[in-house]
Amino acid sequence: MAAAHAETQHHTTTGIDNRKLLMWIFLASECLFFGSLISTYLIFRGDSIVGPLPADLLDIPLTSTSTFVLLMSSLTMVLAVFGAQHNRLGLMKGMLLATIVLGLVFLGFQVYEFRHFAHLGLNLGTNQFGASFYLLTGIHGTHVGVGVLYLASLLVASARRNGLGKEAALHVDIAGLYWHFVDIVWIVIFTLIYLIP
């Protein structure tokens, strides 16, 4: 979502591009957003009256794999930004595509996990674990989905005759900020839900 820019001149008071600054401040807002969801999960930890409980369901090796996939997508994202900044457009497009694919694989793991848990009897209304787990990871998954759509839009736009225009590096850089943030949030979620019993 490249936002509008007031003037053709790119001078700003701080020297940081307006759009990049907007993304940084937006991510500050997102911290409170995920903070509230994670707090809800922690408050309800151990409050489930009926099962299935986290210990019955969580498969750490499986989710470690999907976490690894998402972490690798951050690496490819960094390479995509590198490619965009050094005018190596082939690298940029390839790495954008790799990031999209890794994001989709992560989402695939999540869909599988949700279906598997539902099959074992955990639904939104089953207990406090179900409600807070599905809402938190579901919203995180939605963020990954939006990120995939965002990167895919950039990839499609970069196939145009004039590519992403003269500000390609900036566009990919800003998308990267978002993508890394969503990754970091997952590390927090993975640690709190899966690793700390």
């Binding site: 979502m1 490249a2 936002a3 509008a4 820019h5 007031a6 003037e7 053709t8 700003t12 008071t13 701080t14 940081i16 307006n18 600054l21 907007l22 401040i25 937006f26 500050a28 807002s29 997102e30 409170l32 957003f33 903070g35 509230s36 969801l37 809800t40 408050i43 309800f44 409050d47 489930s48 009256i49 009926v50 639904n123 939104l124 209304g125 089953t126 207990n127 406090q128 179900g130 409600a131 807070s132 809402l135 919203i139 759509l149 839009s153 736009a157």
Partner: protein
């Protein structure tokens, strides 16, 4: 002004309508916000008049209990989210670029989108009346009252969806304003030379950016509770009603400062100009505003003393609540110090500013009283609290907004509002306001609970209730006089001139109303009061160049289309998935069009 949103349905003047629908000019968007906010102010006012009419005499029969619940809920939601916030945002929109010496905000199209999304949220919330199912659980919507069992109709779904949409609008505009103030300042306009109004805007933007996500999560959870069988806030499978209160007030208390800080900023602009001397203690007032912003996140549980928080949390929140009174008091002394020894012009704007200080101080003091848990326990849910919030919100926020309206009307329209009628209107508002809300202190102490739709004659509440109802009708006359004043003034020629007040800030250095590009030459700022500095040092205004090569962003209809997409998503969340899906498609189309649209 009235043509801004009202004539969308008519086609005889399509070009004008289209201009307003596609505008990305911050001044036009500011006017849209102002007209919309004032319209919702009138709607919320009608709701208030109905409430007071019902309560005028014991065992009133004007409204039944169900409708009464809908009206007091919608009165609060309308006034807070659809009247005071948009009117605040209207001045933000109009004056941020003018105050910092910029040609527009950082993201003109995002600015337009914020307005359309806010309007969507307002329409969703208010349309609930058409279905006879307006939210009726109070603006705070405490669980478990909001559960499907106790609120079976769609009212609270209108509440969750409407507030999420309106919140999205506030988030987008706050991001935009924060970036604009950080990044778009004119040469020489350092942070510590910003007008105090800009500082308050800046603090408000960050309050919203950091508190809106919390209420959004709470609203999502409530929506899930009501529609997808979760039990976040109801005891069903172990949910926690108090969690809702925490999430709500972590947002709700910063929101109180979101409502009052803009008016504090307006008063800080009006008083120095009308006293013809610089603001007393600029650094103190800026730091006090920032301190309020920080402390504002640490006081939310004083709304929840009676839930049984335990002793230690009560101490902590009691202390932090008393602490936040200190920077607020600092500001009051700053304003008094500004007027002291000044050559004060008693204009209507001055009247409203002084009215603000007096009434806000009363509301502030009755607020600090409730920092003490035992006192709070006595007053909780009584009319004393109603008196307190209205002294802060009407005596504070609304008085400040009216001060701003009289102060900036000549800049926005080129016409000075009539001072005589303005002052008569002020006295109606001032007297009406005090007559309505001061007796509520007595009613509360006499034990009258909030939110009851009627009461018996033998409880000793008759007299003051009747007085309060008379007060509200006097208030209505004051509002009507203001509207008449605006209407008559707009029919007169624009003769106010660029700088009728001898202002200190940059907006007075351009024409009234300002050209689309605001300044022919971007001003250079040498002092906190740039125009007074230039006047005192005989620095002439920069000459207007013979040819202006200023490029302004072209109008765009994508903000409107994206706004419609978001409206459809919201409507779909209340009706069917198909409409949501359609909304997503429309929104995605609009984002693509937006991204690829040439802006240079």
């Amino acid at each position: 002004m009235a043509t801004a949103v009202g004539t969308v349905g008519h086609t005889h003047e399509e070009s004008t309508v289209w201009k307003w629908l596609t505008t990305v000019d911050h001044k036009k968007i500011g006017v849209l916000y102002l007209v919309t906010g004032f319209a919702f102010f009138l709607i919320g006012g009608i709701e208030a008049v109905l409430i007071r009419t019902q309560l005028a005499v014991p065992n009133g029969t004007v409204l039944d209990a169900g409708l009464y619940n809908q009206l007091f809920t919608m009165h609060a939601l309308t006034m807070i989210f659809l009247a005071i916030m948009p009117m605040g945002a209207a001045f933000f929109n109009y004056f941020i670029p003018l105050h910092i010496g910029a040609r527009d905000v950082a993201f003109p199209r995002l600015n337009a989108l914020s307005y359309w999304v806010l309007l969507s949220g307002g329409l969703i919330l208010t349309s609930s009346f058409l279905f006879g199912e307006a939210p009726d659980g109070g603006w705070f919507a405490y669980a478990p009252l909001t559960d499907e069992t106790f609120s079976p109709n769609k009212g609270l779904d209108f509440y969750t969806v409407g507030l999420v949409v309106a919140g999205l609008a506030s988030l987008m505009s706050s991001l935009n304003f924060a970036v604009t103030i950080i990044n778009m300042r004119a040469p020489g306009m350092t942070m510590m030379r910003l007008p105090v109004y800009m500082w308050m805007t800046f603090v408000v933007a960050f309050l919203l950016i950091l508190s809106l996500p919390v209420i959004t999560v709470a609203l999502l959870q409530l929506y899930f509770d009501r529609n997808f069988g979760t039990h976040f806030f109801t005891p069903g499978t172990g949910g926690d009603p108090i969690l809702w209160q925490h999430l709500f007030w972590v947002f709700g208390h910063p929101e109180v400062y979101v409502l009052i800080l803009p008016s504090m900023g307006i008063v800080s602009e009006v008083l120095p100009v009308m006293s013809r001397k610089p603001l007393f203690g600029y650094t103190a007032i800026v730091m006090a505003g920032a301190a309020i912003g920080v402390l504002g996140f640490g006081v939310w549980s004083h709304h929840m003393y009676t839930t049984g928080l335990g002793t230690v949390p009560q101490y902590v929140f009691s202390a932090s609540t008393m602490a936040i009174g200190v920077p607020t008091g600092v500001k009051v002394f700053n304003w008094l110090g500004t007027m002291y020894g000044g050559n004060i012009r008693m204009t209507t704007a001055t009247y409203y500013s002084i009215g603000f200080i007096a009434l806000f101080t009363i509301g502030g003091i009755s607020g600090v009283m409730h920092a003490s848990p035992p006192v709070d326990g006595q007053h909780q849910d009584s009319y004393f609290i109603v008196a307190h919030i209205h002294y802060v919100l009407f005596g504070g926020a609304i008085m400040g907004i009216f001060s701003g309206l009289f102060y900036w009307f000549p800049k926005m329209t080129g016409r000075l509002l009539d001072e005589t009628w303005g002052k008569i209107g002020f006295w109606f508002l001032f007297v009406g306001m005090n007559l309505t809300f001061f007796p509520m202190h007595f009613l509360g102490l006499a034990g009258m609970p909030r939110r009851i739709y009627t009461y018996d004659a033998d409880l000793g509440w008759d007299t003051w209730n009747f007085v309060a109802t008379i007060g509200v009708y006097i208030l209505v006359v004051g509002i009507l006089l203001f509207m008449l004043n605006v209407f008559m003034t707009l029919r007169k020629p624009a003769t106010a001139g660029d700088d009728p007040w001898g202002g200190a800030t940059l907006e007075w250095a351009t024409s009234s109303p300002p050209p689309e590009h605001n300044f022919d030459v971007v001003p250079v700022v040498r002092d906190r009061d740039p125009l007074w500095y230039n006047r005192d040092h005989n620095i002439p205004m920069p000459e207007r160049p013979a040819h202006l090569h200023i490029h302004m962003p072209p109008p765009s209809y994508f903000p409107l289309v994206l706004g419609i997409g978001i409206l459809l998503i919201g409507v779909g969340a209340l009706s069917s998935l198909a409409i949501t899906a359609l909304g997503v498609v429309v929104a995605y189309y609009a984002v693509w069009g937006w991204a690829l649209e040439p802006t240079e």
